[in-house]
Each structure stands twice: as structure tokens, then as C-alpha cells.
Symmetry: C2
Subunit: 439 residues, 2 copies
Amino acid sequence: MIMGAGLVGSLLSAYLKKHGYDVTIYERRPDMRVDRISAGRSINLALSDRGWRGLEGVGLADAVRKVAIPMHGRMIHNLDGSLTFQPYGKEGQAIYSVSRGGLNCVMMDEAERLGAKIEFNQKCKNIDFNNNSVVLENNDGKEVTVTADLIFGADGAFSAVRHDMMFTDRFNYSQQYLEHGYKELSIKPNSDSTHKLEKNALHIWPRGGYMLIALPNLDGSFTCTLFFPFKGSPSFEELDSPAKVTAFFKEVFPDALELMPHLEEEYFENPTSSLVIVRCYPWTINNSIMLIGDAAHAIVPFYGQGMNAGFEDCVDLEKLMVKHDNNWDEIMPEYQNIRKPAGDAIADLAVMNFYEMRDLVGHPEFLLRKKIEGMFYEKHPNKWIPLYSMVTFSDIPYHNALAEGQKQDKIMKQVMSMPGIEEKWDSKEVEDLILQMLS
Amino acid sequence: MIMGAGLVGSLLSAYLKKHGYDVTIYERRPDMRVDRISAGRSINLALSDRGWRGLEGVGLADAVRKVAIPMHGRMIHNLDGSLTFQPYGKEGQAIYSVSRGGLNCVMMDEAERLGAKIEFNQKCKNIDFNNNSVVLENNDGKEVTVTADLIFGADGAFSAVRHDMMFTDRFNYSQQYLEHGYKELSIKPNSDSTHKLEKNALHIWPRGGYMLIALPNLDGSFTCTLFFPFKGSPSFEELDSPAKVTAFFKEVFPDALELMPHLEEEYFENPTSSLVIVRCYPWTINNSIMLIGDAAHAIVPFYGQGMNAGFEDCVDLEKLMVKHDNNWDEIMPEYQNIRKPAGDAIADLAVMNFYEMRDLVGHPEFLLRKKIEGMFYEKHPNKWIPLYSMVTFSDIPYHNALAEGQKQDKIMKQVMSMPGIEEKWDSKEVEDLILQMLS
């Protein structure tokens, strides 16, 4: 059985059905395809290569591609109103803006089409790890106990399955909150349903200690997210009146403000949400119960990899099911062994990308560094894959990408300290230095 | 109200009574003074200066001194049977072996004498942080709700109060287990109730990846603790038969084995316990609920500071009660502000001391370093207090001690790398180098 019919739970059910398992998913919420509810989380997500591979494995990629908007790069909105476009990768490479709710509905449909059962309004009350049984409570407070050979906790960052694992002996666990929170806002479409900003880009207003971003939606709107400190100056705490909010946006996001006539209402209607990083280990118990996706490794959203990492969990799990011929005594230990370092690495990378996005993305030095890396990558595509590309456009394990990125970082620090680097950035001398340091 | 009538809860109640508060303690366990139960944890503890100050503040030190056994240093049991004695500090300085249960009984008596009420068999089911109320369940499953202006979570490493705080927004939390566990064993007294080993020492059998220690009890026995890996070789997992246990002890703890004729029974009767480090923040909610002692900062036992740190929490809290004239809106923020870095530092120091005790304590280089530090400390007592002394025999905040210790570490690395240091360790040259590096 699977706890949680979110993105990872639904995808996992499809993989398990593909391999002939009986699958029932228990979901705490009502069916979002019937009652139009928000999933309680961000409205759109960035889907990239690891996520696509997850969808391809169960034949879902084509259907999703129809409702995904490619974003070929970052569109930086400078304070003076000027724009700078930074491609994410090579020609043709993009990350894709998709609706979380829409994607989840497609995936639940597919899970059911493949024969998985989904039971909604089922809250996981308690797990008996010795008997592989779960006590579920429905909306009327009625409890039932269900058992299964395998139990998957795909129930997200605040996983009930993981909560009960916390009380098993020697379970390592940490939940760590950022000082920043986020609030969703929006830019409405033009009256002809076209986008008010460049559609095929992820828009960023980097401002040092905080930032605003915007991702395109199919209806012509953008979902904007303000990542902002909870306390201090400026902060959510400080912006406590409509007038203060507008004045602040006028000062720091003037071009965005012009497109957001509903800012004041939205700002005070929408919740301020927190950002948590969850790490734990082990991810499996008795080789019959396992955590997957956010339940095992909740990360912050700044690399756009949360869903992608969870889908890759499913892809790697399927490989192990094949490799070990469905022997879960071999699958589970190897699963946590290979996925735990990946989960830890993407957690670190996501925090690092927050600093990059809000602090560096607007700096001339950062842009120069990106240009040099791009130049070298083009000349020596086998010797240098930029970190962003390794994470977003490859299946290199996250931890290998992180290690490689740290090596690159060292090299680029040396390169950037070369006298006159601004002029000679594309010279043979720079190229040779990098080659030498790589070898 | 205070949750938990353990060492810190009992002491805290005495401090609160001293300042005129109404105090009720709710304790999950039965009254250990009536039913002779084990507190579920280690049998004896090392009391040092911070702990004594805590007892002195409520006039309990003299009573405890009568049942405490001074340990003036470490007695190292080498593999060849030879012994090395390392004093802990200066002449007259010692840490004290006390019985956890005995101490707890004395403190509960004192708490009640001062007018605190203790309700036993009361399990904390759930806390309402908005109404300062706690749902308690007694042994018969009957629930009552109690409220109080102030709620103190002094309920230990697996605190129920802290557990509920985990679900308040942005509560940072981590629980991290060591790869090592521990098992308690014993050395019985001689027939005339005298001790079979030197009474006024903490005995250590350091063996690299693991160690055995022994602390004296009043009845002539020693409580021994084997700190040992759970898995690998050697490990608890590996020693799975009486014959293997005896063979292993014969090989690595031969002199201890001679004194432990009951080893095989004890080894398999006594549980193998795990070692956890808990960190969290904030420690207070709404300036009316706070964590104290292990509930706020559970640490590993290798510095003998767990109880001492909790008692120091109480001492610092009393200072703030006086400073802020019982205004808890000022006391609570400052309490967590000053105690959190102390708690983090002693957590780190305790892990570091594990490595020192099991790895270094038997090495000639370690002994030489201790000699040099001792030499310098004697000549310049104002310039160099050994880290162990700062932690154990002073009230220097733990985090300042840790920082100072790291500085000393750097200096001693340099000193130990001097050519011929073995011969000239007490020379003017060495003294001058240290003086120069300190300035």
C-alpha cells in the first residue's frame, strides 16, 4: 500500500502496477478531481530531465508535455527596469512550468487506469511496524486497520509514516527551517489570454536578501512567489499594511508592481508559508516499509528539484526491482543506500541555489563567471558540464554533481582572480588554466 | 507546572518554590521512593562544579556530599594490565560519583518539603500552546486537563512537551544517534564491602574504537559501562553468545574480566541502549512554556555533563528571574538566548570527549600533551586553563570553553610538532612558544 496520492505516490503506484503489484493508495485529502481543492502547496512547479524520465517510464510524458510551458532561461529583472536573459543550458534545453494540481490529476487518472485503487479521506493514524499494518481514520472518525506486504510512505514533507518511524530505535531525523518564508502572488493575463511577460522564461527579481520569481501558467497568468525574511527589515513582519506593501514593491519591484493591481488583496489573503529541510535515516524498516519523495528528503524549492528528485526515486526503485527480481530484501537496502546521498546532496544544492538566485544572479561578476563557464563548456563539452546542467539536464547522481560542482567552484575562484579577467575571459590563457587545473 | 520529576524537574521545582511560585510536578513514572524502579537510565552519574552550584542554590549540596564519592582522576587500564593515573585537575579537585536514583529521591523529598506537589503516573498526552493547558492521562486511562501560567518541559531526552512543540511552525529539531551503544555491567564489592579497584578514580579501559568505564558506588561495587559499536567487528551484534563475550573480554579487558564473574549473565540480561543527541530551537513558546535540561539539549554522556548542564540551566534561570523581577516576557527570551549556545557547545564537547577517552587517552603523545599543558597551567594559571578544567571545574559558559579549547588545540598542535619535544617538553623554549602564540 502507498500512503499519499500526491505526485510521487501516484507515480510510484503506476510503476508498481506496471510490475504486476496490487496497489491501494490511501490519501488524507478528498479527491482533488472532484472537489476543487488546492493541494496546499505551490501552484506550479518546474519539471526537468529527472522528472521527465520518471513520467516516461510509465508512458506519461507525452500527455504532460501538452500542458507544460518550456522556460529556456532566467529573465533577470534589474532594479532599473532593464532585463537580462540567461539561458539555462544549450539550445533546445529547457525546464517546464507545470501546474501541480493538473499534473497530479493526470497522474491519479493514469494510476487508476492501470488498476491502482485510491481511497481518499483516509488519515494515517498509526503504524505497527512489526505487523505491517496501518490504522486509518476516515472523515467520520471511523478507524480501520489495513495490512500489506509493502508499505510506502509517499506522504510528503510532514509524513505520518516518517513520524511513527521517529519512535523506532536509532532513527536519525532533522527538520530545519529557513529564516525566509514565501507568499504566492500573481500576474493576471492580458484580456486576450496572452502573457504580460515573456512566456518562455522563469522571471527573477533578485534583490540580495530576498527575491521575487514568476512562472508562466497556461491561462496567460504568472504565479509569482516572494521569498522574504520572516523577521527583520525588510520582512513579512514589517510589511503589515497595504500601504507599506505597495510602497515597498514600488521601491524594489517597480516593473512587477505595474502588472499586479491586485497585490494588496493577494498579499493579505494568501498565507505566508515556511520553508523546511527534512533529513532522516534509515528510509526503510524491516525491508517492507519505506519512505520515498519528500517524506524521505524534503528540500527547499530553489533548484526546482523537489518533485524531480522524488520521481527519480521511483526510476531508481524500478531499476532495483528489475535488478533484484522483486526481492525486496535486496531492493530496500540498496535503494536507501543509493538514494540517501542523492537526497542529502540535492538538499544542499537547493539551499546553495537560493544564495545564487537572490544574491549573485544580478552581479556582473556572476554573469562573467557564467560566460567563462559557457565558453569552456562549448569548447570542451566532455570536460566541463556546468553544475546547473548536471542537476537539471542529466541523470548524474546529485551527489556526484555536487562534488563536481565544488571542484569547478575552486577552479573558477582561481580564474576570476586573474588580473584583467574582464578583458581576457575568452582567451587561450584562461582556457589553458582551466584545462591544467582539471587535469 | 513542571512536566517531569527527574533530576532537573525536581531541582527546578525547588528554585521556583524558593521564589514563591505554586508548583506542581507531573511525572509519568510511579514514585521511585515507594516502588523501587530503575529510572530506566544509567545507575550513577558524575557530578561536577556546575551541578554542585545548582544544588547549593537550594541548600542541597551538603546532603548530597555525604553520599558522593570523589574521583580525583582517570585510572587508565592498559592492555598489558598496567595502570596510569591522570588527575582531572589540581590538588583537591574532583568529580563525584553519585547514584542517579538516590540523588533523585533526595531532590524530590526536598521539593516536597519546600511545598511543591508531585503527581505520579501522569502521562502528558497533548499540549494546547494557546491556552497553556496539558492533557494528562493516569494509569487507568483517565484524562484530565490542567492549566498553568507557566509550563516547564523537564521531561528528558524523549520529552513529550518537545514532541508537541515539533508541530508548531518553524521549530528546528534534530535527533542523531551514535553508531555506538552502551550496556551496563558491574564489579561486585569485596565481602567486607570495600572496593575491588581504587575507589577514588574513574576507571577507563580505552581500546580505540570502544571502551569500558567504571564508576564507584557507596556499597563497594562499581557500575561499569561498555561503550561499543552496534554493528561491525567487534560489536554488540557480533558478541552473540556467552562464550564469545568471555573470550572477547579475556582478550581486551583481561583485568576487568577477573573481577566480573557474573559477566555472561549481566551481558545478556541487561539491555543494549542507544546514545542520542537532541538539538532543537526555540526552547520557549509564547514566553510561557519552556524546555529545560535534556528536553532542550540531550547529549551523550562522555563529558559527564548531562545533569550538570541541566542544573546550570536552573542556576542561570534563577539569575534571570532575579534580574527581570519575575517578568517572564523578559526571562524566557534571554534564557534561550544564553543557554542555547551553551547547550550546543556541550553537545559537541561530549562527542569530542568520546574520541579523546577511547582513542587518545592511552597514547603516549596524548599523555605528553597533557603534561605540557599541566606544566604551562601551573606556571601561568591565568593564561591557560585546560579545556577539561574549564568544562568541569569552572562556570565559564560551555561555548566560551569550547572556543578557548579550539584555540589551545591549535597551539598544542604546533608545540607537539617541535623537533625533540619529548625531551624538552618542560623547557623555556616550549613555554615561550605557547606564550607567544597566546598573545
